[in-house]
């Protein structure tokens, strides 16, 4: 078991390194930071532009391999270079990572739990009104791109606010800037800001997991061991939850790893649309401002997260399926 995880971990570390390198090279080749300086009015002299680009390690006159080695040796020491505005990427990243991770954690945990529960209910009550309505809702959500879902939630929240005449849902930023008051008022303010973005991340997850959990659960419900469990005297609820659910959760572990990448992209849309200053928003803005170092840093962040999700999925797999542990 330990050996199995260790091997996976090494494999993952190599992949992170490679993915980051690919991200850096792609960004350095595709984005053109020079344009940022040359488009200034009045245009600065070329020598000044060169010097500034050189200080930021963004000068396209330096060979790309050299720029990369400067960057990667900095990363190894926790220095992610500078943004195109000359600020430290690492400082900004620390702040933004918290914002993104909060959204992603809430999204994956709430989405996973509700999705699995919905899938189980849907399977146990197969071909009933509950099943059909859950299926319909999840199909519609799966057919709605996250950006559209986020915009619709925003519009919906706004109409609720207008209908009630007070502001219940906020849809810009994480908290109201400059708000002072007792701590619970600040907490309520944060929650009001959190609801809509979290929903935008949670709902696709619920829809996704509930579909797969329903299928996995249906397979299990017809199996012999569940009948045996009931025959030996377990109530059907106990049998389904203790024996059925555990078995049906095994394939979900794989889907969790796969779905996490999608969640990450979904969070990008959500952050951008709800003006949360997280990693996703940063990425989209940096591509438009040709900020190579930031783009590379976000790529690293994404790769690490996807692989952590993969590792967690491996662990969950081992926890749920004893056969993996024996090997």
């Amino acid at each position: 078991m330990g050996k199995f995880l260790l091997r996976r971990l090494t494999n993952y570390l190599v992949l992170v390194l490679l993915a980051t390198s690919v991200g850096y090279f792609l960004a350095a080749l595709s984005l053109n930071p020079r344009a940022n300086f040359e488009e200034r009015n009045p245009p600065p002299p070329p020598a000044v532009v060169d010097q500034q680009l050189y200080e930021l390690n963004l000068n396209d006159k330096t060979p790309i391999v050299q720029r990369f080695s400067t960057w990667i040796s900095g990363v190894a020491q926790g220095d992610f270079g500078k943004t195109i505005g000359g600020e430290s990427v690492a400082v900004e990243m620390r702040r933004r990572m918290g914002v993104s991770l909060r959204l992603l954690l809430l999204g994956s945990i709430i989405g996973g739990v509700i999705g699995v529960l919905a899938g189980v209910v849907s399977a146990v009550k197969q071909y009933t009104l509950t099943d059909y309505s859950l299926t319909l809702v999840s199909f519609v959500i799966l057919a709605t791109p996250v950006f559209l879902l986020a915009v619709l939630l925003k519009v919906g929240g706004l109409s609720v606010n207008q209908a009630l005449g007070t502001t219940i849902f906020y849809y810009t930023g994480e908290y109201t800037p400059g708000l002072t008051g007792p701590w619970w008022q600040l907490a309520v303010d944060r929650i009001q800001h959190l609801i809509l973005p979290t929903l935008a991340v949670v709902l696709p997850g619920v829809a996704f997991y509930s579909r797969y959990q329903r299928n996995a659960m249906l397979d299990v419900l017809g199996s012999d061991f569940l009948r045996t469990a009931q025959a030996k005297g377990l109530t059907s609820r106990r049998a389904v939850l203790k024996h059925g659910l555990r078995t049906a959760l095994i394939p979900m572990a794989t889907f969790f790893a796969y779905q996490f990448g999608l969640l990450l992209i979904g969070a990008t849309f959500t952050e951008k649309i709800f003006a949360w200053h997280g990693m996703g928003e940063w990425f989209v803005d940096s591509v438009t401002t040709n900020d190579v170092n930031v783009v590379a840093a976000v790529t690293l962040f994404a790769a690490v997260l996807v692989l952590v999700a993969g590792l967690l999925a491996d662990l969950a797999y081992a926890a749920l399926d004893p056969r993996v542990r024996i090997r």
Binding site: L26, S30, P145, D219, K272, V287, V306
Partner: protein, 311 residues
């Protein structure tokens, strides 16, 4: 040379062609079987009808209106739907109907092309990895792992400044080039079991070149899976395309797709809802219809799944 395995090889082929070849009785019956199973799924038939209607609308629709997608009516800004402008107008007087039709056209075509190409790449990569094994397998699967680590959205977004101002076909190539990995894994798994079968070994012993074995013996035997996969990925491809276009990383102006239209309509979703809701609604309907067809086709082509699902 391929005579002994032709029933297996052609067995699933008719699904790609119309079931109308009367001279080939065996394929006709298989095609009919699939068709009958498909028609039994009401939802899938509705989905197919909707998809066909959307295609007709997207390609014939622009001809019905006198407005082009790029033309402007300087007498009507932000007008609600009327007899003159069926879906209303935008802030600069563009006809929302003409724009939406154009966007639908683009999104549908991109979705279809990406689905076909990515399934094609997956078929070739997966079958090569499975058939050759050894270092080919290791290198290809490793590539798959690497590409799965980097979300394709990020890669395409980073690369987008490079194809700004170039053909949208490049965008299709990128979407397809980063969307084949999961299917390639499945194809590889199937190939591993197929290559041990007698008809493949017979072909190999008779000296049939590897490429021919893959194209003529392995891939036709997975045609069901490939067709299902291509159909299902249409919806995913449309979602990916609109998502990238929403941020300006995909289809570039002056051309439009449903994604750019939704992005343009978002700020006025409450004040001038017609600029937003038509494109949004059509997008959801398109993806829903595509996934309904995909599900129906899977049940029709793969009776094992259908049996499991039956009550």
């Amino acid at each position: 040379m391929t005579a002994p395995i032709s029933p297996a090889a052609t067995g699933s082929a008719p699904a790609t062609t119309a079931p109308g070849h009367a001279e080939d009785f065996r394929s006709l019956s298989r095609g009919r079987l699939v068709l009958r199973r498909f028609l039994r799924k009401r939802l899938a038939v509705v989905g197919l009808a909707v998809l066909v209607a959307l295609f007709l609308l997207a390609f014939a629709g622009p001809a019905l209106s006198k407005w082009g997608y790029a033309s402007q009516d300087f007498a009507a800004f932000n007008q609600p739907p009327s007899a003159e402008h069926w879906f209303g107008t935008t802030q600069i007087g563009q006809d929302v109907y003409a724009q939406t039709m154009r966007g639908l056209q683009k999104s549908l075509v991109i979705g279809l092309l990406v689905a076909v190409f990515s399934t094609g790449i997956a078929a070739i990569v997966g079958s090569c990895a499975g058939y050759f094994g050894g270092w080919v397998d290791r290198v290809l699967m490793w590539l798959v792992d690497l590409l799965l680590v980097l979300p394709s959205f990020l890669i395409i977004a980073i690369a987008s400044p490079r194809f700004r101002g170039k053909s949208w076909l490049l965008f299709v190539a990128l979407l397809a080039g980063f969307g084949w990995m999961v299917t390639a894994r499945i194809v590889r798994g199937l190939t591993l079991s197929l290559r041990e079968r007698e008809f493949v070994q017979a072909a190999r012993l008779m000296g049939v070149p590897s490429g021919v074995i893959i194209l003529r013996h392995l891939l036709p035997n997975m045609s069901s899976l490939l067709i299902i996969d291509a159909t299902i990925s249409v919806g995913g491809a449309i979602l990916a395309e609109t998502g990238l276009s929403y941020f300006g990383f995909g289809v570039q102006p002056p051309d439009v797709s449903l994604g750019t239209l939704i992005a343009d309509g978002t700020p006025s979703a409450l004040t001038f809802p017609w600029q937003f809701h038509f494109a949004a609604g059509l997008l959801i309907i398109t993806v829903l219809a595509a996934s309904a067809v995909g599900d129906g086709l899977r049940d029709a082509l793969d009776p094992n799944i259908a049996c499991e699902r039956a009550r």
